[in-house]
């Protein structure tokens, strides 16, 4: 270029004066508000539990139980968060957990001991995720339909394997992990796994190219494609990831219950989706956090626990959960529209 080398630094193309820093700050503030409000809800629940049943609820054992119970669905929710953030949905998580848990506890599998159970559970989860992913990414099926079909077939296969019977685990090393006083590094094993999965999930989402691609595909799939991202392959990986989480969750459930049943993981898909939504994940994709989803899980499990301690039936629990979902989404819509 010969003459007007670079355009004037202070050009006319300015952001309207309201933009710039304030907009940026509100974004940060809004993310914080969301997390803080979830923490606030959790704190309020703990107060309620502490007041209504001070002795039972605040007992260390009970709090451990809350976390342990939350671990299984928590691991599933981490995978679900990724899928929803990409604009997809996985309705088959509960069924995959069931199938993985029964396949991993058949007499034949148990012959291979601890490793056999763990390996099978994970492999079945990943296998189901692979089928989901291929159907959705390369078969062009809508995620809702593909995973609905998987839900039906995986449950059916689980029933076929068990014939409705509960498969008792006889491996001591597995059962030991489910004992009340089992600790690894001073943490109950299930809670430890949940924590590790959460941390790894957070790192993948926030610190890796995989996480970036997930957000890009969910935020604007066409833009992602035109930017050179392999959208289909990314979708495949995401359902694989969800399947992997289901396999891990199935293993945790085997430890927790000492058995495998075809009724395991019933309605996990709804709990996981609900937890992710409460946590601020946009159902249309492109926005969400692992921390939010995990807080969503903890809120749900805490409610269940408080209601159980207060001898309230599960119907009341369900109604409360429904109300919380509605309230959470309404609050998020408000915070989103105030900018």
């Amino acid at each position: 270029m010969t003459q007007p080398v670079s355009p004037p630094r202070d050009s006319t193309d300015k952001v309207p004066s309201t933009g710039q820093l304030p907009a940026w700050r509100t974004t940060v503030a809004r993310a914080d508000v969301r997390t803080l409000s979830l923490l606030g809800v959790l704190a309020a629940l703990i107060v309620v539990g502490g007041i209504t049943k001070p002795d039972e609820f605040l007992d260390t054992r009970n709090l451990q139980l809350v976390l342990t119970q939350g671990s299984v669905i928590g691991v599933v929710t981490v995978g679900m968060t990724f899928v929803i953030m990409s604009g997809g949905i996985d309705l088959s998580v509960g069924a995959i957990v069931a199938l993985a848990s029964v396949w991993a506890t058949t007499v034949a599998t148990q012959e291979y001991g601890f490793a056999g159970i763990l390996f099978t559970a994970v492999l079945v989860g990943v296998g189901c995720g692979l089928v989901n992913g291929l159907l959705i990414a390369y078969g062009g099926m809508v995620p809702f339909i593909a995973t609905l079909a998987m839900l039906a077939s995986a449950r059916g296969l689980a029933l076929q394997i068990t014939d409705g019977a509960t498969q008792i685990v006889t491996i001591d090393s597995v059962l030991d992990l489910g004992e009340r006083d089992a600790y690894i590094l001073g943490i109950p094993p299930l809670v430890l796994v949940f924590a590790v999965v959460t941390i790894i999930g957070w790192l993948i989402l926030n610190r890796t190219t995989f996480g970036r691609r997930t957000v890009a595909v969910g935020g604007n799939a066409e833009a992602a494609r035109l930017a050179g991202i392999d959208v289909r392959r990314q979708r495949l990986y995401l359902y694989l990831l969800s399947g992997l989480c289901c396999g891990i969750a199935a293993f945790l459930l085997i430890i927790l219950s000492g058995s495998g049943q075809n009724t395991n993981g019933n309605l996990y898909e709804l709990d996981a989706i609900a937890a992710a939504i409460i946590g601020g994940t946009l159902l249309s994709g492109g926005r969400g956090t692992i921390v939010g989803s995990v807080l969503g899980v903890l809120i749900f499990t805490t409610i269940t626990n408080i209601f159980a301690l207060n001898n309230l039936q599960s119907d009341v629990q369900q109604i409360a959960k429904g109300a919380i979902i509605v309230a959470a989404v309404l609050v998020q819509r408000r915070t989103a529209s105030t900018t």
């Binding site: 193309d13 952001v15 933009g19 890796t208 890009a216 992602a224 930017a227």
Partner: protein
């Protein structure tokens, strides 16, 4: 002229969306019984204007009067009650309902307030269809089974099922055969004879001459001409209003020495074609060269660009970058070979609106900042900052969300993406669409500087002065065919406009009643 107030009078209509001012003080007067044509390029603001008129968008500023009374079109229902009906280009019909159900959707004839009287609905639908010249359409058939033309008739019947005073038709002829267009014009004639006003949007100038009474031309969200006589305004003048400059832009100077002809082209397109969109195209772009594609909407300019990029699969021909043939229909192959696209629809096709500038810039070269998938965010931010600074993107803070940027700066973010990726060929589709007039010169300078640094640039623009001012070489397109190639210096705006319009094939079919001056050869004003 009319003693009574106009049927519709919009004045000073302003509407902004984040990052772009879609309408900037538009005036529009429509008289009862007239066909008022709305002309303008893509993005000129036509869609936004008719959405305001339909009550689907609320204007930020301006007033709307209906038969002399100020009104607020709070919602589509309010507009419909006044008698304003809109037939969108993307027909808003429910495919799985019958014709009659679609026509009466939302105002079904009922008994006892809620029982739908199906027979009455069918009878009145049949009457409407007959009036529209399509008695063969069965009111009981599913809309999804009908042809595009028939669906449009259904959409029109729905409009007429209300007590309609004004019908907005958004490119109604786009999907129609010549005979169907004739029928459409007959319908429009009948409507206006009944005193109904028609706002008619089309890119086909010869149609406007045939049925239009007056023309309003929109450009960059402004009405650059209002109420011109549709039949007597010279075509060239109308096109010049649509495509011309309304500000004297400062274009950067071309390099003093023209690019060496023996530098090997980095992009070679050989016989590339897509059936029904554009005929085989040959073109080359050398490093440092800006090649422009000029043409009206529908000339195939964007399609050519997207096909080169692999976003559409060609039916013939090949694209060669740096000597190797690209896998057809693969965006990833194109990006890997060094192509970068700044698409026409920035928000829909390029930007991740929820994300920061940094992430929008780095999205195509993430792996460069990653080891084993792990992103070095410091390096990423640094690189994004360097790239955006080089383009003087404002604000100078790549952490802000991209949606808070102005149109021009959003475009710079897209350019920075490819700059960071280190691409060799930049494909620019309407690079100044939605960019404030004041910011354009700066964007032009940026594009020229990138070319001077060795990038090959292929530019598509609907604004002829933009192509002539920025490009080194220009290919003129008409109806999917390259009709002329020449250095930009040897062309002027009038010559290009003539080429763009000259003897357009559609015109030959429908310009029988038209004056022979349609080619724009007559002395312009």
């Amino acid at each position: 002229m009319a003693p009574e107030p106009p049927l519709l009078s919009m004045s000073g209509i302003t509407k902004s969306f984040p990052g772009v001012r879609a309408l900037d003080g538009v005036d529009l007067d429509v008289q009862a019984g007239e066909v008022h044509c709305l002309l303008g390029q893509n993005g000129a603001g036509k869609s936004t204007l008719i959405k305001v008129l339909a009550g689907a968008h609320q204007p930020d500023d301006g007033t709307i009067s209906w038969r002399g009374e100020p009104v607020t079109l709070r919602s589509p229902i309010v507009a419909m009650r006044l008698g304003i009906a809109t037939i969108y280009q993307e027909l808003d019909l429910v495919e799985h309902l019958s014709v009659a159900e679609n026509v009466h959707l939302g105002h079904e004839p009922t008994a006892a307030g809620f029982v739908v009287r199906g027979k009455a609905a069918k009878a009145s639908t049949a009457a409407l269809l007959k009036r529209l010249g399509h008695p063969e359409v069965e009111p009981g058939r599913l809309v999804g089974e009908l042809s595009a033309a028939q669906q449009q008739i259904v959409s029109m019947a729905r409009a007429l099922s209300h007590d309609v005073r004004l019908i907005v038709m958004d490119e109604p002829s786009a999907a129609l055969d010549p005979e169907e267009v004739d029928n459409l014009f007959r319908i429009v004639g009948d409507l206006t004879a009944d005193g109904v006003a028609v706002v008619y949007i089309s890119h086909r100038l010869e149609e406007i001459r045939r049925i239009g009474d007056r023309v309003t031309v929109l450009k960059d969200g402004r009405a650059v001409a209002g109420g011109l006589p549709a039949k007597s305004t010279p075509t060239r003048e109308v096109v010049a209003l649509m495509t011309g400059r309304n500000v004297e832009y400062v274009f950067p100077e071309r390099p003093a020495t023209p690019r060496d002809a023996d530098v090997a082209p980095v992009l070679e397109v050989q016989g590339l074609a897509r059936e029904g969109e554009f005929a085989p195209v040959d073109l080359t772009v050398r490093p440092g060269e800006i090649v422009g594609l000029a043409g009206l909407v529908g000339s195939g300019r964007s399609e050519i660009l997207e096909t080169i990029y692999g976003a559409r699969k060609p039916t013939a021909g090949q694209v060669i970058v740096g000597g190797s043939v690209l896998r057809p229909g693969s965006v990833r192959a194109a990006v890997r070979a060094g192509l970068g696209l700044a698409p026409e629809e920035r928000k829909a096709q390029a930007l991740l609106m929820l994300e920061s500038v940094t992430r929008n810039v780095s999205v195509s070269s993430m792996s460069r900042f990653a080891r084993g998938g792990w992103i070095d965010r410091g390096a990423e931010l640094g690189a994004a900052r360097a790239a955006t600074r080089e383009l003087s993107l404002r604000p100078d803070n790549p952490s802000v969300p991209v949606r808070t940027l102005s149109g021009g700066n959003q475009q710079k973010a897209v350019l920075a993406r490819w700059l960071l990726r280190g691409c060799r060929v930049l494909l620019l589709d309407e690079p100044t669409r939605g960019v404030d007039v004041g910011a354009r010169a700066e964007l032009y300078a940026v594009i020229r500087r990138l070319a001077d640094e060795g990038l090959a640039v292929l530019l598509v623009s609907s604004e002829v002065p933009e192509v002539l001012g920025l490009a080194d070489r220009v290919l003129v397109l008409r109806e999917g065919q390259v009709v002329h190639t020449a250095p930009a210096r040897e062309l002027d705006e009038h010559r290009v406009l003539d080429l763009v319009m000259e003897g357009a094939p559609v015109a030959s079919a429908s310009s029988a009643v038209d004056s022979p001056a349609a080619g724009g050869r007559g002395p312009a004003s």
